[in-house]
């Protein structure tokens, strides 16, 4: 009983408001206010001011402590610090072809389960395993494992496993060509395909409301799978994994921080030869610059992590509101609305695209400063490619802090879902009745973990930057001097991360919805308000309104991508009428202040 009540609770978080009758749903701005990212509730308390200050202060203080202690001619961590795990028999057993085959079979089975459940299971978000597994267990959970332990993705990646299996099958039948069409991958393309795909994924996760709908999610997975396999066939399995498979690159970036590096395989027979345990973050210290596209990929990743937190802050809400109410944008806003676009989604999409550009610009600016500080002759792009990984520990720390309670609370859904993945009433493991415990993790623990993680992440970032500088700059002195600009950048990045955590999580604002069936509101120039009702054919609605300044009034509904206007009045100050629905639709009554003065609007809606 308890569990069904909890589920009812979550359903309200997850399901679109359209399910209700006479839903006060807004089409322009703010459809799901309490929505965090992809889906699921988040009950995090904002980081208190004193902890925020302690964290920020510690970042600055620690930077100087590290500089004082370590900024000498300290040798970079060498290969001697690694331990080959394959010297232990138990570990060798773990990498036995049979064991690896087992992990891969489980991974592919889970992949098939998620897609099948998404397509054919219950379409109720919390009763279908697909959304919880993909967004919480896989995307958040695996990122934690990849960053803190080791990146298992190269072994279990189902797209890679399936394709490699098919390749083996084809070879069995005598085809000699290993890589399908065997087209040469154009080198100018770099990692740009992965950037585009990762951007689309981030959009789907953070902005599209449909990522929580099981069937849409499964469809998206199938499209991505088809694309991945096609590209692997065209360019070759390994090439695509290194350049285009967004998740291989993403988990790979996180995995560079981890203490366990991927097994080093023999180039001839593909058997694992070494499997190293290494100091945390040591793989982030590179001595060859990564390509510009890879640098861009890392920055896109970091910026989307930051964007995810930022879009839940009150500041973002205020920003969105001021843009939405800015008269200069009014014509554009109406045009978009007429074309059937959700204005909020458009604004968020623009912001999601601008964030990486902003990150890139700031980062390149600091690289230029570094070049100047070190008096180096290396091009800025090369410096950018060398130091980009320094920022990864801060991003990982922020990611850890931001998602910790989400993973531990919303992640509990997987327990009942494991028993009934399709949402059809099975109880395979007897866990269907499991009720989510919101007390598994307390606010204090989350706060301290957040501040400590971000502090530690900052120390690692400073350390990585330092070691890279020692490796790539000519003298110790120039290496040290090169680090001052980066120190400023890292402190700033750490503070922004802490600041986001200190903000209360608010949903996107509902800027334009009228909650009450009658009332008086004040409209700024070009501001609009609307009130929406689910109506069935022949439902009748009576309304009247008056305003000081002329307003445009309409009753509209969305028919796919087109907006239909059964009622449309321009520049009126008073009106009273009756409206009869001719189709079953969600009808919205909408007022727009068309004058350059603020107006008051008194309205009354009776029915349906």
């Amino acid at each position: 009983m308890k569990s069904t009540r909890i589920k009812a609770d979550l359903r309200d978080f997850l399901q679109p408001a359209a399910a209700g009758t006479a839903a006060a749903l807004t089409i322009f701005l703010g459809a799901q206010p309490t929505q965090a990212h992809a889906f699921g509730p988040r009950y995090d308390l904002p980081l208190p001011l004193n902890l925020y200050l302690v964290g920020a202060g510690a970042a600055v203080a620690l930077s100087f402590v590290i500089m004082a202690l370590f900024f000498r001619a300290l040798p970079a961590p060498s290969d001697e610090l690694r331990i080959d795990l394959l010297q232990f028999r138990a570990v060798r057993a773990l990498l036995h072809p049979l064991a690896i085959g087992g992990f891969q079979a489980i991974s592919v089975a889970l992949f098939v389960l998620v897609v099948t459940a998404g397509l054919f299971g219950s379409q109720d978000t919390v009763r279908n395993i697909a959304p919880t597994f993909v967004w919480i267990i896989w995307w958040v959970g695996l990122a934690y494992i990849a960053a803190l332990a080791g990146n298992p993705w190269p072994i279990v990646n189902p797209w890679s496993v399936v394709f490699a299996g098919l390749e083996r099958l084809v070879r069995l039948f005598g085809a000699r060509n290993r890589a399908g069409f065997g087209l040469a991958y154009p080198s100018w393309l770099g990692a740009w395909p992965a950037i585009v795909l990762f951007g689309l994924f981030a959009w789907f996760e953070l902005i599209a409301e449909t990522g929580k709908v099981p069937r849409t999610l499964a469809t998206a997975i199938m499209i991505y799978s088809g694309l991945t396999w096609f590209a692997m066939a065209v360019f070759g399995h390994d090439v695509w994994l290194a350049r285009g498979e967004a998740f291989s690159l993403a988990f790979g970036v996180f995995g560079r921080f981890a203490p366990i590096g991927g097994p080093v395989r023999d180039s001839a027979d593909g058997q694992p030869r070494h499997w190293y345990l290494r100091p945390y973050a040591s793989a982030l210290v590179v001595d060859r610059p990564c390509r510009l596209s890879m640098t861009a990929f890392v920055l896109v990743m970091l910026s989307t992590v930051t964007f995810d937190g930022f879009k839940e802050t009150p500041l973002w809400g205020a920003l969105l509101r001021s843009v939405a109410l800015e008269p200069a944008f009014a014509p554009l806003l109406h045009k978009l609305h007429d074309l059937g676009f959700d204005f909020q989604i458009v604004l968020e999409t623009v912001m999601l695209a601008l964030f990486p550009v902003l990150f890139f610009a700031v980062y390149l600016g600091f690289c230029r400063l570094t070049k100047w500080a070190a008096g180096s002759r290396r091009p800025v792009a090369e410096i950018a490619g060398l130091f980009v990984f320094c920022l990864v520990p801060i991003a990982i720390a922020y990611h850890l802090a931001h998602y910790l309670s989400y993973l531990l609370i919303a992640g509990q859904f997987i327990i009942p879902l494991a028993s009934d993945p399709f949402g059809i009433g099975w109880d395979l493991f007897g866990t269907l009745g499991y009720a989510i415990d919101i007390r598994v993790i307390g606010a204090r623990f989350v706060w301290y973990t957040a501040v400590v993680a971000i502090g530690v992440g900052h120390v690692f970032a400073v350390g990585v930057g330092h070691f890279v500088a020692l490796r790539v700059f000519e003298t110790t002195k120039t290496a040290l001097r090169s680090q001052y600009p980066f120190l400023v950048l890292m402190v700033a990045y750490t503070m922004v991360s802490l600041w986001i955590l200190s903000q209360p999580i608010v949903g996107s604002p509902s800027l334009s919805s009228l909650r009450a069936p009658s009332g008086t509101v004040s409209l700024a120039p070009f501001e609009f308000r609307e009130s929406c009702f689910e109506m069935t054919t022949q439902d009748t609605l009576r309304y009247d309104f008056q305003s000081d300044q002329p307003v445009d009034f309409n009753i509209h509904y969305h028919d796919g991508l087109t907006v239909r206007f059964p009622v449309q009045l321009n520049r009126v100050t008073a009106h009273a009428d009756e409206f009869v629905a001719d189709v079953d639709q969600l009808y919205c009554l909408m007022w727009t202040n068309q004058s350059i003065k603020r107006t008051s609007l008194t309205y009354r809606i009776i029915g349906p």
């Binding site: 839903a23 009950y43 302690v54 510690a58 309670s405 502090g455």
Partner: protein, 118 residues
């Protein structure tokens, strides 16, 4: 780093814990007008372990839902009604309406309940 941090946090935590003993049951009025909470203006803030009684008045019938704690609750116009919460779990929990008198359905948080650790 960990010890450095712990050294900074622990004294503050101990002082807080000493202060937060034996709190009586608190009562707070919450007023809904025109489908919005007009009082209090900000989030309701309590400390973990508190027992808090929210006395709701509304100008319209409404079904309220405190998420996380998962308490559902009806308020009729003109009849103040009390929601008693044993604030054991920390966090920031939205209270939303699950239906107004005429069937209107809101999804915005009317107000947040913030339970701070003691």
């Amino acid at each position: 780093m960990v010890w450095f941090a712990a050294g900074l946090f622990l004294p503050a935590a101990l002082v807080r814990a000493a202060v937060a003993q034996n709190r009586p049951r608190q009562m707070l009025e919450v007023r809904i007008e025109n489908r919005q909470v007009v009082e209090p203006r900000e989030a309701i803030r309590v400390t973990q372990g508190d027992v808090i009684e929210l006395r709701w008045t509304s100008d319209e019938a409404v079904e309220l839902h405190l998420h996380g704690y998962d308490i559902e609750f009806d308020v009729e116009p003109g009849e103040p009604a009390s929601m008693v919460i044993q604030a054991n779990a920390t966090g920031r929990f939205p209270i939303t309406s699950h239906g107004w008198g005429d069937g209107g359905h809101g999804h915005d948080a009317l107000i947040f309940l913030e339970v701070y650790p003691n």
